[in-house]
Symmetry: C2
Subunit: 422 residues, 2 copies
């Protein structure tokens, strides 16, 4: 893409009311726009990043048998009344609205109830199970305050998967397979090393643990306790229970700040029972379906990565989710047609090889272009100038390390992660 | 995909309260679920169709310079107050909600105002124009009644593009280029022949016409008048004006029922002026930006196509948006391992060639499978049975024509539209 055609511009200052590092950088670099606290728009660069995160998640959910759907945002009260989640005393962060006939609706904050209702049309027998259904789309939570940028939104995107099985054992098995899928997602997103499977309370309905996935970040809202062997972590609410049960000592654990980027729960029959989602066993007996739910927050993950991977000059995207792989910067003096032609040649070469390139073809100074490139944070910056033409090689700067080298066209194509996966 | 893994089941009857043909068929075939009047969920098959429609639209919008964004659903009142579109007396179909501090928000029904606000951060000079920005996402309209299935929703999907230029002339030029892009979209969607560019009133702010794209359908809510040479149509509201201006006689025109699937408007400065989106000309003069808007309804288009292309046995999808290209039906008698093996061989062959296949591997009767295949409406049905194995060829049935022939593996691959575009 030609940068001169990108409508967004970078800016030196974020809005004064923006207190989070992730949103400050993402706004300054033109990825997002702030509508109000906790509500952001995704501009072209931001939507590219978000779509890449979504696609990685989608591939891993499909790989474990997920079927994708898109459920409505407007929600009927009746099914939430049956599970005790409609009244504002029980769930205090609904956004509610009204039809013309004055009947109340909610804006989807979670989708267990409507999906269970849908499945009543499709599940009859043990032969119809298991099924694993997910969507990626907007969720709404009416938070009193929202000051963490896109890490905690009033309107945010979520991948919510729900498993439906014949038994707790089957749910347990899928719980493990989803845990493994999540690990693959985090590895592909570039946060595998710093994201911990974290045991948390299973909620009031079960003695089982639930699992959170917590990514280390100094500005995180959560605190977790990492086991000495680093294999697992525990959250604060179950720390006492965990130390007793697993014979751990708190002072041998590492205490860190973190951000919850995903969570998985065993739900058992707490929604299927009151809503009447049952299946017939082989012997014709009717039983409630067993259920689990598996959340990931794509916009929160984007915010977390922006929050973690940056320096005082700007963002530093992992290759897998960067909006472009190469930021091609032409450095011309006025109407320098030779440099322009060389930049165009390289642009075509890379695009034809399947490399995503943002070509800074603007007629502004080199200093401004380099500052923008650092702020936008594309992994590989390649400069074309009179000097590089004279040298017969391009100048490559790796955004994450700052390392500068001279490379040929062909050497660019073998850089790690520069080509699309598969 | 294996049909045994698809969680949706077909059904003989649609819900009793469903009065529209499109939703009746789409629900019976398992594409969608009805939450309430005008609000539907997209199940795996339905989401596949919707995504294909979205992708065709996206490609054609990108081809004319569109930049994709995703704007928030929650909307602040202030900008709509400035353009006179907040109060319920002016715009009577808002869904409204409230933050915890009791301040009102709206659910996005259109996005001129928030996008103009965003652009105030990015547009300063004539050099920053033109730009063409679009999104594909949910819109909300609080309709008193909604009984046209997914052809008219309270929650529905929309592609809304907005052009920002320095002058009316530039807007006019993009208006034409978008008209051509829309024609390509309709042709690719399989409704090109029956979709008319239709002149309509430009609204109270302009003497220009606006353009609607109207698709012929007996159950359509609109009436249009097609000119004798079939090149253009006129809607009812401007019929008198059009006959005078273009010297046409109403009784020489063809009067038909139709569905509005898209519309484009020249907005001039009606939003940019009150909201203060200005640019500097070459001579440093400040002027309001000129604007146009260009809508298409992906979910409405899906409903329209379902409404038009069906017979008494079910849906008949155009190849470009069918959820799968081939419905592979194995007809076995009990544990017929030879037929299963042959079906598996063909499935792998087609998948490897890039053909999207739904393989009916279920252990149910042939009659039930054929009825489901007709209802689901995938363009090519291919049967594998003892008889086809004996004949050394597969049985092919074209859903749209009903034509049945015998074909080899290789002959399947050259069927029109069976391979993915490009």
């Amino acid at each position: 893409m030609l940068q001169s055609k990108l409508f967004t511009k970078t800016r030196k200052e974020a809005p004064k009311d923006e207190v989070s590092r992730n949103a400050e950088l993402l706004i300054r670099a033109g990825y997002i726009h702030k509508e109000m606290a906790g509500v952001y728009d995704f501009l072209p660069l931001g939507l590219k990043v978000l779509n890449k995160i979504n696609q990685i998640i989608r591939e891993e959910m499909d790989a474990i048998g997920g079927e994708e759907v898109s459920l409505s945002i407007l929600q009927l009260p009746d099914r939430f009344e049956k599970t005790g989640r409609w009244s504002d005393e029980k769930v205090d962060n609904w956004f509610k609205t009204k039809l013309k006939n004055d009947s109340e609706l909610g804006l989807g904050l979670t989708h267990e109830e409507p999906l269970v209702e849908i499945l009543k049309d499709h599940i009859n027998s043990y032969r119809d199970l298991p099924c694993y259904i997910y969507q990626i789309g907007p969720k709404f939570r009416n938070e009193l305050r929202a000051k963490s940028g896109i890490m905690r939104g009033r309107e945010f995107s979520m991948k919510d998967m729900y498993s439906f099985t014949t038994s707790k054992e089957e749910t347990d098995a899928f719980f493990e397979s989803c845990t493994e899928a999540y690990k693959k997602v985090f590895a592909r997103l570039g946060i595998g090393d710093r994201t911990y499977k974290t045991l948390a309370s299973g909620g009031i309905f079960t003695t089982d643990y639930s699992v959170e996935f917590q990514t280390l970040a100094e500005t995180g809202e959560d605190t977790i306790y990492i086991a000495p062997d680093k294999s697992i972590a525990y959250n604060k609410e179950i720390l006492d229970k965990a130390t007793t049960e697993f014979n751990l000592k708190v002072d041998e654990m590492t205490t860190v700040r973190s951000i919850e980027v995903g969570n998985i729960y065993k739900l058992g029959k707490i929604y299927t029972e009151p809503l009447g989602l049952r299946y017939k066993t082989e012997t014709g007996e009717e039983r409630p379906v067993d259920m689990g739910c598996y959340g990931l927050g794509p916009s929160r993950i984007m915010g977390t990565i922006a929050e973690i991977y940056n320096d005082d000059r700007g963002l530093i995207w992992p290759l897998s989710i960067a909006p472009f792989k190469v930021h091609l910067v032409e450095v011309t003096r006025g109407e320098d047609t030779q440099v322009k032609a060389e930049a165009e040649k390289l642009y075509s070469y890379l695009e034809e090889a399947g490399v995503e390139v943002l070509w800074d073809d603007r007629t502004i100074g080199a200093g401004e272009k380099f500052a923008d490139a650092d702020l936008i944070g594309i992994p590989y910056r390649v400069v074309v100038s009179e000097r590089t033409i004279a040298a017969g090689k391009y100048e490559l700067k790796v955004r994450s390390s700052g390392e500068v080298t001279s490379v040929s066209e062909r050497e660019l194509l073998v850089l790690p992660g520069i080509l699309k996966e598969k």
